[in-house]
C-alpha cells in the first residue's frame, strides 16, 4: 500500500526514505550544525555503516553478530596504517632512534617496518584492503561457522569472543599495533591536511555519499530474489534447506556484505577523527552497534542510520551533563526497545505513519497501489518457536 513512501520502515526501505535521508544528511545537517558538530555527526555516521550492516545480517538474515567491531576495526586500522606511515616520514621523525617508522614502534625498540605494514605504503593497496579485508575475514568466520551450522546464540557468543581476541591481540602487541592508545596523530592524506575545515566538509560529504551508496546496495540486495530467500531462511531455516537451497552460502554472503559495509565505515572513521584504537573493536562498541540497529529498527535500512545518529548524539549530550545517569538511561532504553518495541522506532512510524502522510504522498501512494497489486507492507518475522 505505502510501499514506496513509508519513510522509515518499509520492508525494502523505499527510495523515498533514502532520498529523505540524503536530504537530511547533505542539506539539513550541514546548514544546522557548525563544523565541530558536523564532524561529530560524520563520526556517528560511520557507526551507521555498521548499523546498516547489522540491519542486513541481523534484521533480515537473523544472524546476530556481537563482533561487528572487528570489521569496523579492520577497515579503520587499514586506513590508519597508511596514514601513520605517511605521518612518519624520515624528516618529522628524525629525533627517533630509527627515523621513518611510526613513533610507537620506535618506543618499543622495533627498528624496521614489520612486513605486514609494508604494503600499506601504497594508497591503492590500502583502499583495496579496506574494501576486501573485512569481507575476507568475515568470509573465513562465516564459512567456518555456517557450514558447520553454528547459528543463533552460539554464533553471537563466538563472534563476541573473536572481538575480545582481536582487542587483546592489538593491546598486547604494542610494538606492531600501537597498543591500547591505538594509532594516533594522523594528519595528512597524500599531503592533504585532513584536519582543516574544508577537508572536514569534504570528508563529511564523501562519508554521506558512501553511506547512501551502501543503503542503495542494501536495498538492491533485499529487493532481488536473494533478499526473499534470506528473509525466508531467517523465519524458517529448515524449510528453506529442504527446498534445496544451500542455506550456509546465503548466510555467508550477507555476513560478508555487512562486514564490507562496516569496513568502509571504519576507514571513514579514521579519516574523520584522525585516530583508531582498540576501544572501537571490543565487546562494548560491538554491542553499541547492535543498540543503534535495535533502536532505529532492525528491519529498516535507514532506521539503522537514524538510530546511530540519535543514540550517539544523546550519548554525547547526556554523558557530558550526567555521566552517571547515561548508563542507567542507555540500559533502560535497551530493555525497553527489546520488550516494547522490538522493531525499533521504525515500527512506530510503520504503525502510525500512513495516517500522517501528506496529500502528495497519498496521491503517489494511490497511484502506486493502482499500478501494482502487490502490497509490500511492514512484515514482522514469524516468532521463533520456543524450544
Amino acid at each position: 500500500m505505502n510501499r514506496l513512501f513509508s519513510f522509515f520502515q518499509d520492508r525494502h526501505a523505499g527510495l523515498g526514505s533514502i532520498l529523505l535521508l540524503a536530504i537530511v544528511l547533505m542539506v539539513v545537517m550541514p546548514l544546522v550544525f557548525d563544523i565541530y558538530r558536523l564532524n561529530l555527526a560524520g563520526r556517528y555516521l560511520t557507526y551507521a555503516f555498521v548499523a546498516l550492516g547489522l540491519v542486513l545480517c541481523w534484521g533480515y538474515g537473523g544472524i546476530l553478530s556481537l563482533g561487528q567491531g572487528i570489521f569496523f576495526g579492520i577497515g579503520g586500522y587499514a586506513m590508519a596504517m597508511f596514514l601513520k606511515i605517511e605521518a612518519s616520514d624520515p624528516e618529522s621523525t628524525s629525533i627517533q632512534t630509527t627515523p621513518g617508522i611510526p613513533d610507537f614502534m620506535d618506543w618499543n625498540r622495533i627498528t624496521e617496518l614489520p612486513w605486514f605494514w609494508v604494503p600499506f605504503n601504497s594508497l591503492t593497496f590500502t583502499i583495496i584492503a579496506v574494501l576486501v579485508l573485512p569481507a575476507a575475514f568475515a568470509f573465513l568466520i562465516g564459512f567456518a561457522m555456517f557450514k558447520r551450522r553454528v547459528s543463533g546464540v552460539y554464533f553471537a557468543i563466538i563472534t563476541q569472543a573473536l572481538a575480545v581476541v582481536l582487542t587483546i591481540l592489538i593491546i598486547g602487541q604494542q610494538g606492531y599495533t600501537g597498543g591500547i592508545n591505538g594509532i594516533t596523530d594522523l594528519r595528512t592524506l597524500m599531503g592533504w591536511d585532513i584536519r582543516d575545515d574544508s577537508a572536514r566538509y569534504l570528508l563529511y560529504y564523501l562519508n554521506a555519499v558512501l553511506l547512501i551508496g551502501c543503503l542503495l546496495i542494501g536495498r538492491w540486495v533485499l529487493n532481488c530474489k536473494y533478499g526473499r530467500i534470506l528473509t525466508a531462511l531467517r523465519d524458517k531455516e529448515e524449510r528453506v534447506r529442504f527446498s534445496g537451497y544451500d542455506v550456509a552460502n546465503f548466510k555467508v554472503f550477507i555476513f560478508c556484505l555487512a562486514a564490507f559495509i562496516s569496513g568502509i565505515g571504519g576507514a571513514m572513521f579514521t579519516l574523520q577523527v584522525g585516530f583508531m584504537s582498540p576501544s572501537f573493536i571490543g565487546i562494548v562498541p560491538s554491542i553499541e552497534f547492535v543498540i543503534f540497529a535495535a533502536v532505529g529498527g532492525r528491519l529498516s535500512l535507514v532506521g539503522g542510520v537514524y538510530g546511530a545518529l540519535l543514540v550517539s548524539f544523546a550519548k554525547t549530550m547526556f554523558a557530558e551533563a550526567y555521566p552517571q545517569l547515561w548508563q542507567f538511561l542507555i540500559g533502560a532504553v535497551f530493555i525497553l526497545v527489546v520488550l516494547v518495541l522490538p522493531y525499533g522506532l521504525a515500527s512506530i512510524y510503520g504503525r502510525f505513519g500512513h495516517r500522517m502522510r501528506t496529500p502528495f504522498e497519498r496521491w503517489l501512494g494511490d497511484r502506486k497501489a493502482r499500478s501494482s497489486a502487490s502490497s509490500g507492507g511492514f512484515q514482522e518475522p514469524l516468532q521463533e518457536k520456543r524450544p
Binding site: 551450522r149 546464540v153 552460539y154 553471537a156 548508563q327
Partner: protein, 306 residues
Amino acid sequence: MSGFSTQELLAIFAMQGFAGVSFFSVLLLMALGLAIIYGQMRVINMAHGEFMVIGAYATYLCSITLGALPGMTDYYLFFAIPIAFGSAFLVGYVVEIALIRHLYHRPLDTLLATWGLALIMQQGFRSAFGAREVSVLVPDWLRGSYRPTMMIDIPLNGIAILVLTLLVTLGVWWFLYRSRWGLRVRCTTANRDMSGAVGINTKRVDRVTFALGCGIAGIAGAAFTTISSTGPTSGSLYIVDTFLVVVFGGAGSLVGTIASAFSIAQAQSLMEFFLGSSMAKVLTLLTVIGILLLRPEGLVASKVRR
C-alpha cells in the same frame, strides 16, 4: 622451555596448575549457573557477571559488618556465602518476573535485554559502592600457603575455594538429579509442553531455575572476593570466558561444563607462565573456538531433542 630443568618444570606445572584452580573454581561456579539457565530456557544471560558482583558486594558488606564484630572475623565467611547466594537469588527471581519471562520465545533478544540490565546494574554498583575496587577481610586461616616441597607453594585460599566449588557442584548435582525439583527441571528441559500437561508448573520451574543460576553466580562472587578485589565491572571480565565454558562444555551437561571449565582454566594458566597473560588468553580462546567449529555441540552433547 629449554631453560628449565625437569624438576623446575614440574614445580611450575604444579604451581600454575593450582593458580589455575582458583580461576577454574570461579569459572565453574559462574558457568554452572549459566549452563542451567541456558540448558533449560535457551536464554543467555549477559548480566550473569553482574550477579556474581552482587554476591561479591554482599560478601564485602558482611565483611565490614559481621566481620568487624569481635571474634567473628574468622567465621563471617560461613554466613557471607549463604547471604551472597540469597541476595543474588532474590535479584534473579525479581529479574525473571520483570524481564526474562517475557522474552523466552526470543533468545537473541534476551541477550540484548540482559546486556541493558548489566549496564544498569554496573552503574548501580558504581553509585552504591563507588568506582574504586573494594576488598574483603581475609580471615587468618585463609592466608598463608601449603608447601609440600621447597619449590611448590600453594595458597590456602585456592584450596578453600576449590572445596567450596566441589561442594556447590555436588549440591547442584543433587538438586538436579536427586530431588523432586530437579526432576521437574529436567522434565521441563526435555519436553516443556508435555511437562505442563502432566501438571508441572513450568513457569514456576523457570523462575526458580533462573534464580538458582543467579544464586550460584552469587556464590562465585563470594569465592571471587577471596582471590581478588571487587569493582563495579569485575563481572564483565569473566563473562566471555564463562559463555565459552558453557558452549564448549555442551549446554545442559554437568560433566561437560566441569570438564570445559577445567580445561580452559588450566590451559590459560599454564600458557600464561610461558607466553604472558594476553597471548595465553588469545590462544586459549582461539583453540576453544576452533574446537567448537569442529564440534559445535560441545564436548558432551546433550541428549535433548531440539
